[in-house]
């Protein structure tokens, strides 16, 4: 038996993944345990969880892999300082102590973190090769073209490659500082959102705007070739050696300084979001077409932070040349931990790979689970009133009753998701037909910006009735945006929205499922199957039987700034700290009126315990 531990750490989204003979045993992000979003520290808690899941200690591990190459990254850092000196002296003085004390000694650092129990070899993989491996190896394809796009790894920011059998080969790259991920992050920063988590907000804000700055971006900031390659004019950016993303030249070009976080969002901000989104999609699509031309493959796999841009992914699928695409659900740096572990299995150890009809990510439900005894203990400790259901059908009926009454339900089941999306294990769910659901969930449950859309979870067999996903393609990980089918749209809604601008467009009833239909009639779809998540699938079935609608609103179980809940205790805290109506943890159902109300001060303290993202 061969045990391989993959790690990503020290930048953002630290994570650990454990393989046994090439199979994923456990995977988790550190933020879920430490409750610090995008936690960058060594993933001690995630490692402990993975080892506990397998009932082994570090001494049993055969290989430990790290998701990038510190030597090459250090090379890039110093070459950057040498290219731009004396600019960057302050950055140099702040960055280098960490390198000298820790990052240049990663085997020692990891050895310390593993308590000096591990005796095997440390393997370091190229950052983008880790992404590529995480995209190809778990995919259901024997061979596929590979596209990775993110901020930066060592030098690469975008790579093209090909996977076949047990081999991944990257052939072309774009190098730092020319980076589509950093361009998107620059606009995230400029529009007043937090980089590394606000990119999703920019993508969600884009449909409210007009891409009137897109030509300006193409003319001055990024030069894009027909083959998707690009070069960025660094006079407009300050990330190489500064402490912010954008330069004074950028601000001059776009008419002012960055928006202050939490200040009102203007039409201009929406237009900026729409513009960078259009440019991003343009590059993604061109890269995909070029990749198809050089590989001839009919399948595409994607990873890297930009692969979380599900609007761009949707366009690649609808307008690009590939018949099928698969996207690593933990496409950001957390997924690199999986990639390096699989590289060790297939490339270092030369183990064969056989793709199945389904992917090997197992619904990405790879994290901790909690049994009834855990839940009962918590209920006793917290003096919570709950009903335990011994028959699953009765539980599903009770939850469906609540959903039909437009109640918002916390849904905590099975193993936690690996990756940023809630997929029906740590979810907040509701009735998508309710016209008030988006407003209620955003402002009373999630405490987040009112413009943000929610995603639909839909029974796979009914997906095409509601959403225009190309034939043969599912979206099990909520990473594809598809148009809501015209026959589901409300008559006259498009015309009604034409006279409106910005957030006002939200007030128009857009479809039969308004809570999950964005203002451009798109939806970030999750197709649900019994194989991936049996109980969630059955709940959707029951809701469909009773309502005629095979769709539920599915959003992550957390409030703004909080990592998705991991344990029942965190779920209860979120339930009591918000206006959520009910909470289901495994077979236990809790209703808000039955609980002792939390004081306003306690609710505020809960909200304030997470810094806004």
């Amino acid at each position: 038996m061969t045990w391989i531990l993959g790690l990503s750490a020290f930048y953002h989204d630290s994570a650990a993944v454990l393989l046994r003979d090439g199979e994923i045993v456990a995977a988790a992000q550190e933020e879920r345990f430490t409750r610090k979003k995008h936690d960058h520290h060594f993933p001690s808690h995630a490692v402990r969880y993975c080892l506990d899941e397998a009932r082994i200690s570090p001494a049993h591990l055969d290989y430990v892999g790290f998701y990038d190459k510190p030597g090459a990254k250090f090379d890039r850092l110093i070459q950057t300082y040498a290219a731009l000196a004396p600019s960057g002296f302050r950055s140099y003085l702040r960055a280098l102590p960490l390198w000298l004390r820790s990052k240049l000694h990663l085997p020692v650092e990891i050895d310390r973190a593993l308590g000096h129990e591990y005796r095997g070899r440390y393997v370091f993989a190229d950052h983008h090769e880790s992404h590529a491996a995480s995209a190809f190896f778990p995919s259901p394809f024997d061979e596929a073209a590979i596209l990775t796009i993110d901020g930066v790894g060592e030098w690469s920011t975008t790579t093209l490659g090909h996977g076949r059998g047990n081999a991944v080969t990257l052939t072309h790259e774009i190098r730092f500082p020319h980076s589509l991920g950093l361009l998107y992050s620059a606009f995230t920063y400029y529009t007043g959102f937090r980089v590394n988590s606000g990119e999703y907000k920019v993508m969600g804000l884009a449909p409210y705007g007009e891409p009137r700055f897109a030509d300006l971006i193409r003319k001055h900031l990024i030069h894009i070739k027909d083959d998707g390659s690009f070069w960025m004019d660094q006079r407009y950016f300050d990330y190489c050696v500064g402490t912010v993303m954008t330069s004074a030249a950028f601000h001059d070009r776009f008419g002012g300084p960055p928006r202050n976080p939490e200040s009102p969002i203007t039409q201009r901000d929406m237009d900026l979001a729409a513009s960078v989104q259009v440019v991003c999609e343009d590059v993604m699509l061109k890269c995909a077409r070029h990749l198809h031309a050089i590989t001839g493959s009919k399948q595409l796999v994607l990873a890297g932070g930009v692969a979380l841009n599900c609007v761009g992914n949707g366009r690649i699928l609808r307008e690009g040349p590939f018949e099928r695409i698969w996207i690593q659900p933990a496409a950001g740096d957390a997924g690199g931990a999986l990639g390096v572990a699989q590289l060790i299995w297939h490339h270092v150890l030369g183990q064969p790979r056989r793709a199945g009809t389904a992917d090997s990510q197992r619904g990405s439900l790879l994290g901790p689970r909690f049994d009834a005894a855990n839940v009962r203990q918590l209920l006793d400790q917290e003096h919570l009133a709950a009903t335990e259901f011994t028959a699953e059908d009765e539980l599903l009926d009770a939850v469906t009753d609540l959903l039909l009454q437009e109640k918002v339900v916390g849904w905590f089941q099975d193993r936690m998701e690996f990756g940023p999306r809630a997929l029906g294990a740590r979810s907040i769910i509701g009735d998508p037909r309710s016209p008030k659901m988006q407003h209620t969930m955003n402002l009373k449950i999630k405490f987040r910006e009112s413009f943000r859309p929610f995603a639909p979870a839909v029974l796979r067999e009914h997906a095409s009735d509601y959403f225009a996903l190309p034939r043969g393609n599912d979206s099990p990980y909520m990473l594809l945006v598809a148009p809501v089918q015209p026959h589901q749209r409300t008559n006259g809604s498009a015309a009604a929205m034409q006279g409106l601008t910005g957030i006002d467009r939200l007030n128009v009833a857009r479809s039969r499922v308004p809570a999950v239909t964005h203002v451009d009639f798109s939806a970030r779809v999750q197709t649900v199957t019994a194989d991936a998540n049996r109980r969630f699938y059955r709940l959707l079935q029951r809701f469909h039987e009773r309502s005629g609608c095979p769709v539920l609103v599915n959003t992550s179980f957390n409030i703004r700034g909080e990592p998705m809940v991991c344990s029942p205790k965190e779920a209860v805290r979120c339930f009591l700290g918000t206006d959520m109506d009910a909470l289901v943890i495994e077979n236990f159902l809790m209703l808000k009126p039955d609980q002792q109300a939390l004081s306003r001060e306690a609710q505020d303290a809960y909200k304030q315990s997470f810094s806004l993202d």
Binding site: H40, I78, A83, L98, R101, H105, V108, V348
Partner: protein, 110 residues
């Protein structure tokens, strides 16, 4: 103390900058390249053992900047700053952590 030492090393970075200017090297591609495409062919892999090693610079090759001497000096310096082993019973904490006040977006690049 370490920052003082790093300040003393900084002239090596400055020398790299000057040499880049004199020799026309542009490791960051700040000047827009001519040609039909900006794609760069990736280097062939070295042997698996070397490629998967910590010190592998497979991705760092071919950039042509004059940062090399500074990198060598800093790597030598790092020999004196390695984290120590944990003592029996001592709980792990990182040997160093990022400075306060560094935005995530910038820290990510380091």
């Amino acid at each position: 103390m370490l920052k003082l030492v790093l300040t003393c090393v900084y002239p090596a970075i400055l020398v790299g900058r000057v040499l880049n200017a004199i020799t026309g090297r542009d490791p960051l591609g700040l000047r827009r390249p001519a040609g039909e495409s900006f794609w760069i062919a990736r280097a062939e892999r070295s042997s698996p053992a070397e490629y998967f090693s910590e010190a592998s610079s497979a991705e760092g090759r071919g950039h042509g900047g004059w940062g090399g001497p500074a990198i060598a000096v800093l790597r030598r310096l790092a020999r004196f700053t390695a984290p120590r082993r944990l003592q029996p019973g001592e709980r792990y904490s990182a040997a160093a952590d990022r400075e306060q006040g560094i935005p995530d977006e910038i820290y990510t690049l380091w």
